[in-house]
């Protein structure tokens, strides 16, 4: 099972990248987490160029198509989604009929050095992913004051937050398994 990790921050020592590393450590043996690290190469979305597909966009679409699920870790800028992440999702959403996110299981976590742990950016990312057609886990993991809240492995120090991260990953993995049809 393959989970594609997207980090909404380009910062070298991003707490959200650390959080994804922590999440990787919680996954069962049959699941792997692969990071997509080319968000910085994606140009500004332009409808005129929608069908030309820049290389980094093609790579992201292919990575999503290959993955069984997507896990986004996002910071929050001005109470909302970082532009680089929203821009990437806008590219991936087009053409709407062909987006690899349609029906794709997805979950969103977030960390910030502020008090609120990117809680609004997470909510808006869930909204955007749902709008595009992903099957989004309806949970949030706001890690505030991330400089102190994450341990050296990228895992939340607080037991409740660690439990929530595990529960979120369990639910994400459940969404990747074939659903039993009702009798």
């Amino acid at each position: 099972m393959r989970i594609l990790g997207l980090v909404g921050s380009l910062r070298h020592d991003s707490y959200n990248a650390q959080l994804l590393a922590g999440a990787r450590g919680l996954l069962p043996a049959e699941a792997e987490l692969v990071l997509f690290d080319r968000l910085a190469e994606i140009p500004p979305f332009n409808e005129d160029e929608e069908l030309s597909t820049p290389p980094a966009v093609a790579a992201l679409k292919a990575a999503i198509a290959r993955a069984d699920a997507v896990l986004v870790a996002t910071p929050e800028y001005n109470a909302s989604i970082p532009g680089v992440l929203k821009n990437a999702l806008d590219w991936v959403s087009r053409p709407i009929a062909e987006t690899p996110l349609r029906g794709k299981p997805a979950a969103v976590v977030g960390a910030s050095t502020g008090l609120f742990g990117a809680v609004w950016a997470q909510a808006e990312t869930r909204k955007v992913l749902s709008t595009i057609g992903a099957r989004v886990v309806d949970r949030e993991l706001p890690i505030g004051q991330a400089d102190e809240a994450l341990d050296a492995n990228g895992l939340p120090r607080e037991p409740e937050a660690l439990q929530e991260l595990s529960a979120m990953l369990d639910e994400l993995l459940d969404l990747t398994r074939p659903q039993e049809l009702a009798a």
Partner: protein, 183 residues
């Protein structure tokens, strides 16, 4: 209100020794977490006249607010919260101060924040006087009060995506003072 016999504060003026004092606050955020801050610059005194009437007064420089996150500190100084450019000081003056035999302290007075003045009641304790190693007479005062920040014009809040609000309205003011007797 304590019914114990009251004891007077020793006659004279006692100034706050800011090196050994703390003026802070605590407020819940994200429903369950507690966030703390403090002010670095403040001044005040406890005085008792010949008739034994005690008076506690002091003021705080709002711009000296210290919190872990500097973006938050800037937000707290802005018009959403303290509006320190227009209201640079917080002030308090007692109107009624009672010390019980066991040192329990109750202070009622007028607290002014952001141009709003309201009567608040603070409770705590007083200890001493005690002669310190340098031969100075010192008093210790601990006080706590809970205020509704909205009454003082600090009304910022934001709804959380999954219900509730980002910041509690009740703020606990916590003052721990060491006062030295003026010669």
């Amino acid at each position: 209100m304590s019914t114990a016999t009251t004891q007077p504060i020793a006659t004279g003026t006692w100034k706050i020794d800011t090196i050994h004092s703390h003026v802070g606050f605590a407020v819940k955020h994200m429903v369950v977490s507690t966030f703390r801050g403090r002010f670095e610059d403040y001044a005040g005194s406890l005085s008792a006249g010949e008739d034994g009437t005690p008076r506690l007064e002091g003021s705080v420089d709002v711009d000296s607010i210290v919190v872990k996150d500097e973006n938050l500190a800037a937000h707290l100084k802005s018009p959403d919260f303290f509006d320190s450019a227009s209201h640079p000081r917080i002030s308090f003056v007692s109107e009624d101060l009672t010390v019980a035999e066991d040192g329990a302290l109750e202070v009622e007075g007028e607290l002014t924040i952001k141009g709003h003045t309201h009567r608040v009641t603070a409770r705590g304790s007083v200890s001493g006087p005690h002669v310190d190693i340098a031969g100075s007479d010192k008093l210790g005062v601990e006080l706590e009060a809970v205020i509704d920040r909205r009454e003082f014009g600090l009304e910022w809040n934001a709804p959380l995506p999954k219900g509730g609000f980002a910041l509690d309205n009740d703020v606990k003011l916590q003052v721990s003072l060491e006062l030295v007797k003026e010669a």
